[in-house]
């Protein structure tokens, strides 16, 4: 059997209060922090998904997004490195340019595993689309990610079938130079796009499998907003109980990750034997059919992320994060020079895989990795030791209010890892939390800065988002 073995989502710490965007708007939408992008959020979802799974056993990574950090440079490779997968034997691909790229990647992964190309492929969908300031989309779009491990090894959810429709239309789009999302008149988009095309994929899949809508336990449907999502459910003949709730008003439409995040929520709740349909939309539609074989221990879901996040009531700060306004952040010259590509390459194990060195003689864990042990002075005798999955204790810290930081204050932390090793790094997603020496922090993959066309990624720490083992 081939199917889904594990899944995990990611919702950013911050959710923008829509009331501060425009008077009268209600609800929230998840917004990535200034140091996040689709790649870092995807890595976070991947970490959740690979919980308790040997990273070396994953032999493929497909990454879906419409907001890749680079147009020419594969996000799946950076994600695989950050996730410390075995990149020496790994099938990678980026799936882009459509909000259904997540489900398309999932189908492609399924097909590759069926064909025997790989045994386990991690599929990540992540998006951080920027709505134009003042547009209706400002209420609907959100940032987030989901990841699924498609596997021939111990899958819990069987993938039964898929059906796709391709459809040529300009309803919601960006050119290769647009930063913000464009859209045509809503009536046109709905009548000739969403309402016409998505049902074609759903009925195509059901007919192919000799099923009716009543045979579905749950239907996960992409929707452009809360009202139209509910309307689609009715048009398809779904009962309210059959329709997996949308994420509007709390997370929003997370683009390529939208259907995938809702699917994860549905799977979290699903009992064995349930049949689930997931359908996405974007220049066509994908419909996928799943059957739950065995109940799985749920991963931290939407609710857990919401409870562990915070509400941002500062629209200007959000606009600054997205580069939609220029804001004084203090004068610090010289400006940050471009990082060196050869240094980034040379330091990838240290900075992206977050490897410490573990001395082969005395076992001391040291970060940044040392060639000469700082304790016993053994030379070139160490093994790599992954820190990204370790929790740590806050040894000391400071909150810097003078150094420009788009999410002030800049928090510098010195942390002691559980299992050994100490380092200093930035903290992010502090929110309103009071910090204290001795508190537990966890690692999160973030963007340090972007300059002269180079994104410089790093690991930061953050207060733990979920208590207990995740």
């Amino acid at each position: 059997m081939i199917g889904i073995r594990s899944w995990g989502i990611y919702v950013p710490f911050w959710r923008l209060d829509l009331g501060c965007v425009r008077k009268g708007l209600k609800g929230e939408r998840a917004v990535a922090n200034f140091d996040e992008d689709s790649l870092t959020m995807g890595v976070a979802a991947g970490i959740n998904c690979l919980h308790k799974i040997d990273r070396g056993s994953v032999d493929g990574l497909f990454f879906a997004s419409t907001t890749f950090p680079y147009k020419e440079k594969q996000a799946s490779v950076t994600a695989a490195t950050a996730l410390d997968l075995n990149t020496d034997n790994l099938l990678t691909a980026d799936f882009g340019n459509s909000l259904r790229s997540g489900t398309t990647a999932l189908q492609a992964a399924y097909n590759a595993v069926v064909a025997g190309t790989a045994k386990q492929i991690l599929v990540i969908a992540s998006d951080m689309r920027i709505p134009m300031s003042g547009s209706d989309l400002e209420r609907e779009l959100g940032d987030g990610a989901a990841a699924f491990l498609i596997s021939s090894v111990e899958p819990n959810v069987k993938i039964r079938d898929g059906f796709s429709v391709a459809d040529e239309i300009l309803d919601v789009w960006r050119t290769d130079e647009d930063r913000v999302v464009r859209s045509w008149e809503e009536r046109f988009n709905l009548d000739q796009g969403y309402f016409r095309v998505l049902p074609k994929a759903v009925s195509g899949l059901l007919q192919k499998n000799k099923m009716t809508i009543k045979d579905l336990s749950i239907a996960v449907l992409y929707g452009p907003n809360k009202r139209r999502h509910a309307e689609m459910g009715k048009r398809l003949g779904l009962t309210p109980e059959q329709l997996e709730p949308s994420l509007f008003g709390i997370v929003g439409d997370t683009g390529a990750a939208s259907t995938m995040m809702m699917l994860a929520s549905a799977l979290d709740k699903a009992e064995s034997g349930e049949v689930i349909l997931a359908a996405s939309y974007g220049n066509g539609a994908d419909a996928l059919l799943f059957e739950v074989e065995s109940k799985t221990e749920p991963r931290p879901g939407i609710q857990a992320y919401i409870e562990s996040g915070n509400v941002l009531q500062d629209y200007m700060r959000y606009l600054h994060w997205r580069g939609l306004i220029e804001r004084v952040t203090g004068r610090r010259r010289p400006p940050i020079p471009s990082p060196s590509a050869s240094c980034i390459w040379r330091e990838a194990d240290q900075n992206i895989r977050f490897y410490a060195s573990k001395c082969g003689q005395c076992g001391t864990i040291q970060y940044p990795p040392n060639r000469i042990c700082h304790d016993c002075k053994a030379k070139d005798e160490f093994e790599s030791y992954r820190l990204s999955d370790k929790k740590a204790e806050l040894n000391t810290f400071t909150e810097d209010y003078a150094t420009p930081n788009p999410d002030p204050p800049l928090v510098l932390a010195v942390i002691d890892f559980n299992g050994g090793g100490r380092t200093s790094l930035y903290m992010t997603d502090k929110g309103g939390k009071e910090l204290s020496i001795g508190m537990t922090v966890e690692m999160t993959f973030r963007k340090l800065f972007t300059t002269e066309g180079i994104h410089n990624y790093t690991w930061k720490c953050r207060p733990v988002r979920f208590s207990g083992e995740i």
């Binding site: 010259r333 060196s340 400071t398 209010y401 150094t403 010195v414 200093s424």
Partner: protein, 396 residues
């Protein structure tokens, strides 16, 4: 290893006013400080046989001394972060002690006010690894020292408010001393309340816990004692020098507790040994320490053996380090009043000791100062260069 004690004499010094010298270039500061030193020593520029220039972000190699037109003598630039000035002097002193040169010049200079912003760059361009790679987070200086302040208070169970008040007292003391010094940049009294209410920079360090950024230069002429006698009677002698460099232990070794800097202990230990000092609290009469941030002066009291471990605050409260206390520290106003033109600060400290040991410090004169110490530290936690110099009167 041999000791430097009594092998090198200071026969002349110069020091510019520190401040925002919008009308002066790096070269102007060099000329003003060095010619003051030549005049003070009673030598001609042509008497200088070799020169060292200490500058952190200034001119590369010896080019900072070009305006002196020193006729092809060897000039070496020393860069050792905020300890640059002291380390330039140390290298020059060793060359003199070795007998290679008879009279040398050490110039410490920094021109910081042309950067276009207040404060120092997050990662100065002279840190090649960071400037080239830029792959790792840069950390501003106030934050580096704030890490220690938080942990020091936590370690000794000191109420953070109490700790902040103790740091404020250091600021108040140094600012007071600075009012007595015409060369200081910021010459105004501050109160504890004012320090406590100053804008937060890096918690718990407020604006008045941090030193300013200034332009400035200082220069010193070194020779051997037998030659010094020809120039003046009241030359002073180097009694001990110590430099120690850390390997980033603070942020890499979990056993480090943030209550001290090892570099200070090693560097001062070496200097004390050379100078024959076994009880610094009693034997040092006056000290200039690196008060870039008030917490650093506080911890330095303990690292240098002026206060017992964890007891610095008791000595602060008793006024032990004030001008009329048992061991006046930073009588010239320190970095708090002078600001910190990086390469100049160490030589500026020597200048104050040079005045104090010769009874020339005017209203801030420490009575009967025979032994003076300077402490100059640069870098970041666990990766500091700590430089110590101990000086004595000729007869001492």
């Amino acid at each position: 290893m041999e000791s430097i004690k009594d092998r090198v004499a200071i026969i002349g010094m110069g020091c510019t006013k520190f401040g925002e010298h919008w009308d002066k270039s790096f070269y102007d500061l060099v000329i003003d400080s060095c010619y003051q030193a030549f005049d003070d020593a009673g030598i001609e520029p042509s008497d200088v046989q070799a020169a060292w220039i200490g500058t952190n972000n200034g001119y590369h190699r010896g080019t900072g001394l070009i305006p002196l037109h020193l006729d092809n003598i060897p000039i070496t630039r020393v860069e050792n972060a905020c300890a640059t000035g002291t380390d330039a002097m140390r290298n020059a002193a060793y060359a003199v002690a070795a007998g290679i040169y008879d009279i040398v010049l050490v110039s410490g200079v920094e021109k910081t006010k042309d950067y276009g912003f207040s404060g120092l760059p997050v990662s100065p361009p002279s840190y090649p690894e960071m400037a080239m790679s830029q792959t790792r987070p840069a950390v501003p200086m106030p934050s580096q020292f704030a890490l220690m302040a938080n942990k020091y208070f936590h370690h000794y169970g000191i109420d953070p408010k109490e700790g902040k008040r103790a740091m404020a007292k250091i600021s108040v003391k140094n600012h007071h001393n600075g009012t007595l010094n015409p060369l200081a940049h910021m010459r105004r009294e501050v109160t504890i309340e004012k320090v406590l209410k100053a804008p937060m920079i890096a918690k718990p360090l407020g604006l008045l816990d941090c030193c300013g950024v200034s332009d400035g230069a200082a220069a010193v002429i070194l020779t051997r004692p037998e030659i010094a006698e020809k120039y003046r009677d009241d030359y002073i002698l180097i009694k001990g020098l110590g430099v120690a460099c850390g390997d980033e232990y603070a942020q890499t070794r979990p056993e480090f507790d943030w209550t001290h800097w090892k570099e200070n202990i090693v560097a001062s230990g070496r200097a004390y040994e050379e100078a024959g000092i076994t009880n610094p609290r009693e034997q040092v009469d006056v000290a200039e320490v690196h008060d870039c941030f008030t917490i650093n002066e506080l911890v330095t009291y303990e690292d240098l053996g002026f206060s017992q471990r964890g007891k610095a605050i008791e000595d602060i409260d008793s006024g032990f380090f004030e001008l009329d206390g048992g061991l006046p520290v930073n009588p010239d106003g320190g970095l708090k009043s002078f600001g910190h033109p990086i390469g100049a600060s160490g030589i500026r400290m020597v200048y104050e000791i040079y005045l104090q040991l010769r009874g020339k410090a005017g209203p801030r004169q420490v009575s009967d100062a025979k032994v003076g110490l300077i402490h100059n530290i640069g870098g970041w936690p666990g990766a500091f260069t700590s430089a110590i110099g101990i000086f004595g009167r000729r007869e001492h």
